[in-house]
Assembly symmetry: C2
Homo-oligomer: 249 residues x 2
Amino acid sequence: MSAGIEGWTAVAQQTELRLEKTERTPEPVRPNLVDLAYDAIKRAILENTYPPGYQAGEMEVARQLSMSRTPVHEAMTRLQEEGLVRILPKRGILVLGLSPADVADIYDVIIALEGAAAERLARMPGPERARAAEVLEVCTGDMDAALRQGDRPAWAKADRAFHDALSHACGNARLDRIVGTVADQLHRARMFTLSLRPLPTASAIDHAAIIAAVRAGDPEAASLAARTHRLKARDQLLPLLQELRLSNI
Amino acid sequence: MSAGIEGWTAVAQQTELRLEKTERTPEPVRPNLVDLAYDAIKRAILENTYPPGYQAGEMEVARQLSMSRTPVHEAMTRLQEEGLVRILPKRGILVLGLSPADVADIYDVIIALEGAAAERLARMPGPERARAAEVLEVCTGDMDAALRQGDRPAWAKADRAFHDALSHACGNARLDRIVGTVADQLHRARMFTLSLRPLPTASAIDHAAIIAAVRAGDPEAASLAARTHRLKARDQLLPLLQELRLSNI
DNA sequence: TAATTCATTCTTGCATGCAAGTTGAAATTT
DNA sequence: AAATTTCAACTTGCATGCAAGAATGAATTA
């Protein structure tokens, strides 16, 4: 499980958190404060504004978001369920880090589910497959473009878009949701090592293989390609994390 | 996604909900009311005390649990994330049903993840594999015993225990947690059709195959056996649900 | 009679109040 | 001086208060 760093000093003391509207929120017709708090805090964690080990009281976060404690409290509960923070009974929240073991676990889940998504996608009727393949190809194109310019953040964003599209297009909303949640957690680790890895030129080939299998309507091949792709990514990322000996991100 | 039944009459009007301690709760050193409410409501839904279409205000539920609205409110948010209820903006909560499509989606997720769990299990070092295999065998034994006595509920319970043990023993806490959540949702559908299905004598054989593959340390075979088992269950359950034309459970 | 408007009541979303529990340090003892 | 106890400030968990929004039904109009 997630291992937090107990004895850290709080770093992001007086940060101002923004309340922005994220896309993934279901249907925020009348946006409620809980969702706003949830999104803001989650973003702060994933973008390392709240680094692992950061400890804060609800009051403090509530002040930063200019709302009362109640919505923050609820948001924290949610975040704890996702494994991003731990609520220390009467001592506030602790932002958790990801150990290499955590990352490995997350990859297991993603590999299994994304494989299933690719398989499903390849089983869809032709027109839908073609449409999905086109979306995926656009993402891959964006990745190539970013790669040629050496723009790593843009590459990461396009890569993320590819994988989001993959699980989204498969038509299984639950699967999509779970993959999204788990991929969010991976995001931190990937961003952290983004500048340390060689430019991932191989990814484009992997993605092409997935797209081809989807186009061909070959579920087995699609699943295999998707899983292989993530496996390779995992085997590239994990040694880096262990080498860094940060042990936690 | 889950389709609720809009125009139902509330059935379980004055039910008294019990606050019992469930085993799955992480570490309830000092049990907080939110978890209590969450468990109680979830159990009520899964056991059909709150049937699909049941609509209730927070106040009402809070009274049944003899607590204030706040913990109930938080619990409802969690349950909505799991897809068990929908919060109707100012009209209370609606217990959702599972359409056959929902069940199919859930099976996709479980098949993928349980396959991964079995694979992981088969990759573990010998002693751990043996220990896990023994646990699994005990569950299978319980199933056989229940089957011989025609005790369907006992069989279902033992079957559940087998699958819980499988994902639990694989050592990936996140995977275990996700599978647990999703399997919970399946529980309703399975219980609903429990008396309508023929006695599932084939399950024992499937389980034996999984156990054998784990014992042999054959990840591929283990994964395949686990997935095949769930696939068969799905193909048996889904037609029944569609035939029942309840369309929602 | 049917449809529309209006008002009343109920319910939720969030803020705040209160009590229980925890932390950290001062004060006391050994 | 070290260890233990006591105490005060702070924080959370939950209850409650309040205001905004929605539903229901009455009253009015066509």
